[in-house]
């Protein structure tokens, strides 16, 4: 597996998370990437403290339990904060979105004029394929 600089590596021939080095490095997140291929946003949720966390991992960071369960999330949330990289070509908008289920995740806001984005704005997940192969949760205005 190449460790060098995967984000600039050419896209794999067979698109998908199976060849993605980021997904491949974390077997415990396989279910997330498989669901993402179907356009579903999954949250790793603790069966002991009953809270979902982000990013998905093998141990609940909120209580230390390893009794975790994948649950399909609504895919909706609100903008917590955003910043448009005006000097980038083309400009893009980095954001944190707070999911309806609670956790906040890093993403990009897409499919709208950056000047229309606001903190608190309702947004909805839309998956886009990363250059390495896995499907990633981007967000657009709901």
């Amino acid at each position: 597996m190449s460790q060098a600089n995967p984000s600039t590596a050419p896209a794999p021939q067979a698109a998908g998370f199976e060849q993605d080095p980021f997904a491949g490095a974390f077997p415990e997140t396989r279910e997330f990437w498989a669901a993402a291929e179907q356009g579903q946003l999954m949250l790793n949720t603790c069966q002991d403290c009953h809270r979902p966390h982000w990013y998905p991992r093998a141990v609940c960071p909120l209580c230390g339990s390893t009794r975790l369960q994948w649950k399909q999330a609504s895919g909706t949330g609100t903008v917590y904060a955003f910043s448009t990289a005006r000097r980038a070509s083309p400009p893009y908008t980095l954001a944190y979105v707070q999911l309806a289920e609670g956790p906040t995740l890093m993403t990009n806001l897409v499919e709208a004029d950056p000047d229309t984005f606001r903190i608190g704005m309702p947004v909805q997940v839309t998956f886009q394929r990363a250059v390495e192969g896995r499907m990633m949760p981007f967000f657009k205005p709901a």
Binding site: S7, Y55, A81, S83, L94, Y96, P103, I119
Partner: protein
């Protein structure tokens, strides 16, 4: 266990270079080490404890220890970004107090400027085995983008204004005009800060620190050795450090690790923010100074914008003289790491060796605080409180 008076800073040196294409990083570390030891009246042969971070060649203290031919009883390669060297002060003080070493050397050096690094505006792909990498690398986050989000959220939650935020840069520039080594010596106005080009909304160019080559070093020792030397005594009386994570997805972008590291340092020192005569607070971005001043307790959460406005951080003008060397915003940000220069200027102030135009009269208590790595994806924070004997 309190570190109070168990360790003193006896040597401090800021490398004068801001652009060093013809020197190696190892040479800059070595020159910084020699500068601080000369300042202390000590030599390499006296050093028995060495502390460095990820900027040192080889990701271990071993390689610089070999370059300098140090004879070590103790070493520490703690890497927590720009605040590593403030954390090293606590580690060195603890090691000295425990008898592990007697003379501790801390060094930093690097050359991001001569290597043309786009520090705050370029996305740098993380290694695939870093656990957050899969979830964040696609979104091309930059340091400017993260602090842009922090600034925007702070303005949203607390009504902080761009004018208030600009005062942080104005204060730094007022100080930098007196520092012959500062990269940017021209005073700027609130209007000039607000009119500078947007980097990542709402961060403008003059909200960002400089990119410089350079280095710095500190020497700590036991009080009895310190008293045998000829330099003024600067005691380490309180330290704190923490790692502030994304908290499983329940983050608050306006709060920094200064809440934890500051509380620990003040508790150990037995003083309060009102007692502090001079503060070095790491200024990677203007907004980060405001958030840290709140979190350290210099004002209430959300009041930072009003606190820094109208020159309140300018020495001789405001209530809290801050970053009187010009800070990272104007003076120096060697290797994109501002922790060591914060401690160095605090030592200058306590010794009465700051530039006369910015020297705080009868400076007895000083604080140095700063973050490391990046707010959001996870940052470290360290605070040190010093007292002149």
């Amino acid at each position: 266990m309190s570190l109070s008076a168990r360790a003193c800073i006896v040597g401090a040196y800021e490398h004068p270079t801001r652009l060093a294409p013809d020197k190696s990083v190892a040479q800059l570390h070595a020159e910084s080490a020699l500068g601080a030891l000369h300042d202390a009246g000590l030599s390499l042969a006296d050093v028995d404890g060495y502390f460095c971070a990820g900027d040192a060649p080889g990701l271990s203290p071993l390689y610089m220890a070999d370059y300098l031919n140090l004879k070590l009883k103790w070493y520490d390669g703690t890497e927590s970004g720009g605040c590593s060297y403030l954390a090293h002060i606590e580690h060195a003080a603890a090691a000295i107090a425990a008898g592990h070493c007697s003379v501790a050397l801390i060094t930093l050096a690097g050359k991001p400027r001569s290597s043309g690094q786009a520090t705050g505006t370029a996305f740098r792909a993380p290694p695939v085995d870093r656990p957050e990498a899969a979830w964040e690398s696609t979104f091309k986050w930059t340091i400017g983008g993260i602090y842009g989000m922090m600034m925007q959220r702070h303005m949203h939650d607390y009504g902080t204004t761009l004018e208030q935020i600009a005062w942080v840069k104005v204060a730094a520039s007022q100080h930098a005009q007196h520092n012959p080594n500062a990269l940017l010596r021209k005073p700027v106005t609130v209007e000039e800060v607000m009119a500078s080009p947007i980097i990542s909304d709402p961060i403008r160019r003059l909200d960002c620190c400089v990119i410089t080559d350079g280095g710095g070093a500190l020497v700590l020792t036991r009080p009895e050795i310190a008293r045998s030397l000829k330099r003024p005594i600067v005691k380490v009386i309180g330290c704190g450090q923490t790692m502030n994570t994304t908290q499983g997805g329940y983050l608050d972008l306006t709060r920094t690790g200064a809440q934890q590291s500051g509380a620990a340092a003040f508790a150990e020192a037995g003083v309060t923010p009102a007692d502090i005569d001079y503060a070095s607070v790491y200024d990677n971005f203007t907004i980060m100074v405001i958030a840290q001043l709140e979190d350290l307790g210099f004002c209430a959460k959300g009041e930072g914008g009003r606190f820094v406005a109208d020159g309140n951080l300018i020495s001789g003008v405001g209530k809290l003289p801050w970053n009187t060397d010009g800070g990272g915003l104007c003076n120096n940000h060697p290797m994109n790491r501002g922790g060591i220069t914060k401690a160095i200027e605090a030592v200058r102030q306590l010794r009465g060796e700051a530039h006369p135009a910015v020297q705080v009269k009868d400076c007895r208590l000083a604080l140095a605080a700063g973050p490391g790595l990046v707010l959001g994806p996870g940052h470290a924070h360290a605070t040190v409180i010093f007292e002149r004997e």
